[in-house]
Amino acid sequence: MSSKWLYRIRTFRKYRDLLIELVKRDIKLKYRRSVLGYVWSVLNPLLIMVVMTIVFSSMFQKNIVNYPIYLLTGRVLFEFMKSATQDGLKSVIKNAPLLKKTYIPKYIFTLSKVTSCMVDTVLSLGAFFIVMIATRSAFHVTMFYLPVIILQTYIFSLGMAFFLAALEVFFRDIEYIYKAFVVAWTYITPIFYPLENLPHLLQVVVKVFNPMYCYIAAFRDITLAGNMPGPRIVIGGWMWAFGFLILGLYVFQKKKDAFILHV
């Protein structure tokens, strides 16, 4: 048992540089392809925020003090999770040519995709800080807790991505099913509306069954209110994160040797 883990750790260390190269490639290509490069990844969320603020802020004005920040906190994390899982889902099949020709631990692809999405998210936080300054919001000390929230979302997304990537190898329509699922998930997550606007029962459902709620609520606590998130949100967040990581890794590990026959 221990030698097995030792072997795994050694393999991971051997391919650590590959992981870094793959993440670098993703980021580089993303910024290289567009003329505006990095500026675009800040501009994009800003533009969307402006549009959505114009449309929705009057609708929910009474409940929300700083609508742009409320919206952005929700969107940053949700978009991170969304792109990480959707890209992660395709990470194995997209690298089929490589998988067929050389031996590489297969999780490297999924891991690198989710990691590049995280790096991208962190880079695009620029937009968030611009809006903070523009709306003259207070910078609370509690915001130093943000990396922990991003880490939680990262682990959660990683678990999801492993699970989905393994399934996708066998069933290619998982991609479309998951896309539809994410749309529904977007609406059941209080991103652009306040949770309180939902009927009571639905509020409970969201709090209990929607992992993204934990991360978004925590993010809002530390930025908007300047509070540390409550224990239920923190512990819940960790539980979702590691629960999914274990599930994802288990499924991935179990099926990985059959990948080559199906990609």
């Binding site: 540089d17 590959l18 190269e21 490589l98 020709k101 050389t102 590489i104 080559i260």
Partner: protein
């Protein structure tokens, strides 16, 4: 431990060909509900055993789809074996495709680092070797342009440079050097020679035989996932090229045959099934000046007497066939087509730890009872028979209420029949278990008629057959069929119904040697068969059992017999050399179900009656002649089949068989 750097231990690789591709949940669910999910396995590698020592260089040859790349991928770790295991003790540089993992959008500089990382090198290491790589690839000027602008030769150069910059312990090359200009090829060869003399182990796949001979000191020849031969490059490559030539001439005959079939010509005879019956008939019809087309459902000719060559051994794929006859004309006839050896069938029987000669003769009896005089043995057997019959008679009469001596003993089942013929000892040790395995039922539940008589020999003679002539064609049976079919348009892999559909008006008369019930679409029901399943295995030893045929008469051993094919030809290959390996087939009796390979017709009342009904239908069928074992639902030895085919040919063609 061992000094082998790569051990491939009896590896099989399996792919699923069923449902060609169910790769989405929707279809999967629908098929699952309709129970349409099938699993059709395809073995890309079959029991491949390969051991490579450090510093050796191995060439892998074989036609496309023979499993060469699959084997390389298994060694690299890309594919996991379905059976067997692989162990590799050393760092592998795979060149299955040069520049695998190059990203088209990235520059050469970036790709060097990426590709290096893909191969498992650290960034630090790559930085140290960066200049060497660029220099070897001669791409200094284009370092910062995206690789999508590179020619394939440039990419290959870069890929080769990255892969070989390190001195890997094992270098795997899969037909990668076919790109690039001559100059580069030369430098690649120099680099590879350098690595080889530096102690690198090489695995090299190529269709370019001269380069294999030049680079390698061992060669492995694969065909359809089987190892055909391994050994020194000259020998193996020579054998391979010879086979290729043969395959090529075979392919050209195949093309000619196809052209003949597709021409407007109408054939005199369509022979369905190219077993011995069909082939003898076809050959005679050709001699009589008729035009003949022959088809076979299998992808080879010869029916059940087909033998295939593997490791220099003729493997009897559909069970052991030993030619024996008392008919001089038949013997001379078959000797026209092949040279027969002096093989005499003398099987032995294993019962637990005991070994007995077959057929039942003085060798058997003396081993069993320690008696040496025929008279004593006869007395012993008579004693055992009398004892048993006496017991049984008492029992039967007691229940029937008659007095002893009034009626004779009537065996009620196979057990009673066998013991009353040979005594209890022989029955228990040599008949019971074997027969029960063969029929899948206890002997006491089998009808007595299966064994009508048991020949007991009171001489020390182990020759199984009583026939005057006996032997095995040197080089296998397939050559005989091939020679018989010369001048006949042959199409293998072709079903009768399919042929009718495609060429409805191609022939005047049909000779049908397939199952008669299948011909009539089973309209009266299925005829039953007893069938045998073979598990063939290649063993890395020169001698497994020391005899071609060993029967296992013990009920506990699941197989009925083991055939060791090489002993049919005295363990020698066609050139008379000893063969280092051996191939054995375990035979299992399996209950026959419709769709399975039919072997032995069952001659019980039900099936005989059913066949008679089919025979009536067959007679009414115009312009179709039924023949052979399956066509007439009767078991024949090979010589009997030839006689039957002659008889039919003489009647049909109005000729006489002349040798």
């Amino acid at each position: 431990m061992s000094e082998n750097i790569i051990d491939v231990n009896h590896v099989s690789i399996r792919f699923n060909l069923g449902n060609i591709k169910v790769d989405n949940l929707k279809e999967f669910t629908i098929r699952k509900i309709k129970h349409e999910l099938s699993f059709q396995e395809f073995l890309a590698l079959k029991d491949v055993d390969l051991h490579i020592r450090r510093g050796e260089s191995w060439g892998l040859i074989g036609t496309n789809g023979s499993g060469k790349s699959t084997l390389l991928k298994t060694i690299t770790g890309i594919l996991k074996p379905y059976k067997g295991s692989v162990s590799v003790r050393g760092k592998i540089a795979p060149m299955i495709e040069l520049g695998a993992g190059f990203d088209q959008e990235l520059t050469a500089r970036e790709n060097i680092f990426l590709n290096g990382a893909v191969l498992g090198h650290s960034k630090k290491f790559m930085k140290e070797h960066f200049d060497d790589i660029v220099e070897f690839a001669e791409l200094e000027r284009f370092l910062d342009s995206p690789i999508k602008n590179y020619s394939s030769g440039m990419k290959a150069r870069l890929g080769f440079a990255v892969a070989t910059m390190v001195d890997p312990e094992i270098l795997i090359c899969d037909e990668v050097l076919s790109v690039g200009d001559a100059n580069f090829k030369k430098r690649c060869n120099v680099r590879m020679q350098e690595m080889l003399s530096g102690g690198t182990t090489l695995l090299y796949v190529s269709h370019d035989i001269p380069s294999v001979i030049k680079l390698c000191d061992h060669v492995l020849w694969l065909d359809k996932g089987d190892v055909v031969m391994q050994g020194d490059p000259e020998t193996v490559c020579k054998a391979y090229l010879e086979r290729q030539e043969k395959v090529y001439s075979f392919a050209s005959k195949k093309r000619e045959d196809e052209a003949m079939i597709n021409s407007g010509k109408k054939f005199d005879y369509l022979v369905v099934g190219t077993g011995l019956f069909g082939s003898v008939f076809a050959s005679e019809a050709r001699k009589a000046g008729k035009s003949v087309v022959a088809i076979d459902k299998r992808d080879h000719v010869g029916g059940n007497i087909y033998t295939g060559k593997k490791d220099g051994i003729d493997v009897h794929k559909y069970g052991a066939h030993i030619f024996h006859t008392s008919d001089k004309k038949v013997w001379e006839y078959v000797n026209q087509f092949a040279e027969f050896n002096q093989y005499i069938n003398s099987p032995v029987a294993r019962y637990k730890d005991e070994l007995y000669n077959l057929p039942f003769n003085m060798n058997t009896f003396s081993r069993m009872w320690g008696l040496y005089a025929p008279e004593e043995v006869q007395r012993k057997i008579e004693e055992q028979k009398r004892e048993y019959v006496g017991e049984r008679l008492l029992g039967q009469q007691a229940s029937a209420g008659t007095l002893p001596g009034e009626i004779g003993f009537v065996p009620q089942n196979l057990e009673e029949q066998a013991i009353s013929l040979a005594g209890r000892d022989i029955y228990e040790k040599l008949i019971k278990g074997y027969t029960e395995k063969q029929w899948g039922r206890p002997c006491a539940e089998l009808p007595a008629f299966i064994i009508r008589r048991l020949p007991l020999r009171f001489t020390y003679d182990n020759n199984y057959f009583n026939d005057r002539y006996q032997g095995i064609p040197i080089g296998g049976y397939t050559q005989i069929i091939e020679k018989m079919l010369s001048g006949v348009a042959v199409q293998t892999g072709m079903d009768y119904k399919e042929f009718l559909r495609r060429y409805p008006d191609k022939f005047k008369k049909v000779v049908f040697t397939g199952p008669v019930d299948e011909y009539f679409d089973y309209r009266l029901g299925h005829l039953q068969y007893r069938t045998v399943r073979f598990e063939t295995e290649e063993l890395d030893m020169p001698n497994f059992q020391g005899n071609a045929v060993v029967n296992y008469t013990d009920r506990e051993v699941p197989w009925t017999r083991i055939i060791e094919h090489k002993w049919f030809e005295f363990g020698k290959d066609i050139e008379g050399h000893d063969i280092p390996k051996t191939i054995i087939s375990r035979e299992y009796s399996t209950e026959w179900k419709p769709g399975m390979e039919p072997y032995y017709p069952v001659n019980d009342d039900r099936n005989s009656e059913l066949y008679r009904e089919y025979a009536k239908l067959a007679e009414k069928e115009e312009n179709v002649i039924f023949g052979g074992r399956l066509g007439t639902y009767k078991y024949y030895n090979m010589d009997q089949v030839i006689l039957q085919a002659w008889e039919m040919a003489e009647k049909e063609l109005k000729t006489r068989i002349v040798l």
